[in-house]
């Protein structure tokens, strides 16, 4: 299977059970997906979430009807898995904060991490996660996928000027969210 075959062709082949076609698709998107996950999820969990995403892709591929482009479908799975991760994360942290409060009440000393970088990173990841879809997408296309602004403009069927304006608005929105969360 040639590595320059289109996604659509590879999907069709993979749906007939062609291992090589699936492997080509997987290798084509692995790094992009991993970067996207890493940018939105704490590093210690990024590997597990990446694995969950590709397991979901392998499982759902036979039923993918190609009504949308493959990468759109794939990134929908990425977003869903990340949202699931944060649902679990908040649930666990709620339990954790309840248990910490209980320990504090009982006078047990709690070690607090003073690693500001970690806090800042988590804050930025959470703020990114809360941005509107088109803002998240343009930031991830530039930073995680490594696409140039011209390539992003082409993919989004926009002018270069409009793409750069959207990028700036996305950065401004992210900045506003981070500031709000800090305060």
């Amino acid at each position: 299977m040639t590595s320059d075959a289109s996604d659509e062709h590879l999907v069709k082949q993979a749906q007939t059970g062609d291992r090589e076609a699936f492997l080509t698709l997987y290798n084509r998107y692995l790094k992009k997906v991993y970067n996207r996950v890493k940018s939105r999820i704490p590093p210690q969990d990024a590997e597990d979430v990446t694995q969950d995403i590709f397991i979901a892709v392998a499982r759902s591929l036979p039923n993918f009807e190609q009504r949308s482009r493959f990468n759109t479908w794939l990134y929908t799975i990425v977003n869903r898995q990340i949202a699931d991760y944060y649902r679990r994360y908040y649930r666990t942290n709620e339990n954790l904060s309840v248990s910490l409060e209980a320990q504090e009440e009982e006078g047990i000393e709690i070690a607090v991490s003073d690693d500001e970088n970690v806090d800042e990173k988590v804050l930025l990841q959470q703020a990114l996660q809360e941005l509107p879809e088109n803002y998240q997408e343009i930031i991830l296309m530039r930073f995680a996928d490594g696409l140039s602004f011209a390539e992003i403009a082409e993919a989004r069927k926009q002018t270069l000027e409009a793409t750069k304006s959207l990028f700036r608005r996305a950065i401004q929105a992210l900045n506003a969210k981070v500031d709000r969360d800090v305060l």
């Binding site: 940018s39 591929l61 036979p62 930025l124 995680a144 950065i171």
Partner: protein, 152 residues
């Protein structure tokens, strides 16, 4: 140069590892966020080899398993569905024919009380009524056709 262009250039320079040009004060906050994003989304970070190998195995195993399951499901559907489809097709075709026949009989046998057909003559046919029944029959047939396409 527009502020958007300056921020885009700044981002490009940052991503290729160049020392970015100085930005005007009004872009300072955006530049800070851009630098932070660059720090957390470093596209050149390599995956750990053991993770990559573990991932390859589990994903390819899942792919094989999903394909096997899909083939099985398709085979099962193939064995069961033709019977079901035939029943649906047969019933729908029969319904369509019945509608047209009932319509034809009704139109031919009941010319209306006000103007009965004389004995030994052909009754008057309401073309509109007959056409109505034909249309209903056709709608059923066309519906059946699309239903079949969807199933196949």
């Amino acid at each position: 140069m527009r502020l958007e262009d300056q921020l885009a250039n700044y981002t490009d320079q940052l991503l290729v590892g160049q020392l970015p040009d100085e930005l005007p004060a009004e872009l300072e906050r955006e530049a800070r966020i851009t630098r932070q994003l660059h720090a957390i989304i470093a596209p050149d970070t390599e995956m750990k080899a053991d993770f990559r190998s573990r991932l390859n195995h589990s994903v390819m195993d899942e792919f094989e398993q999903a394909q096997r399951q899909h083939r099985q499901t398709r085979q099962t559907r193939k064995n069961i569905l033709p019977f079901k489809l035939m029943s649906v097709q047969g019933l729908s075709a029969a319904a369509a024919i019945l509608i047209v026949l009932v319509g034809a009989i009704a139109v031919f046998s009941d010319p209306g009380d006000d103007n009965p057909a004389p004995v030994g003559t052909t009754p008057e046919i309401s073309i509109e009524a007959f056409a109505g029944f034909v249309v209903i029959g056709l709608v059923v047939v066309v519906g059946l056709y699309f239903f079949n396409r969807r199933q196949s």
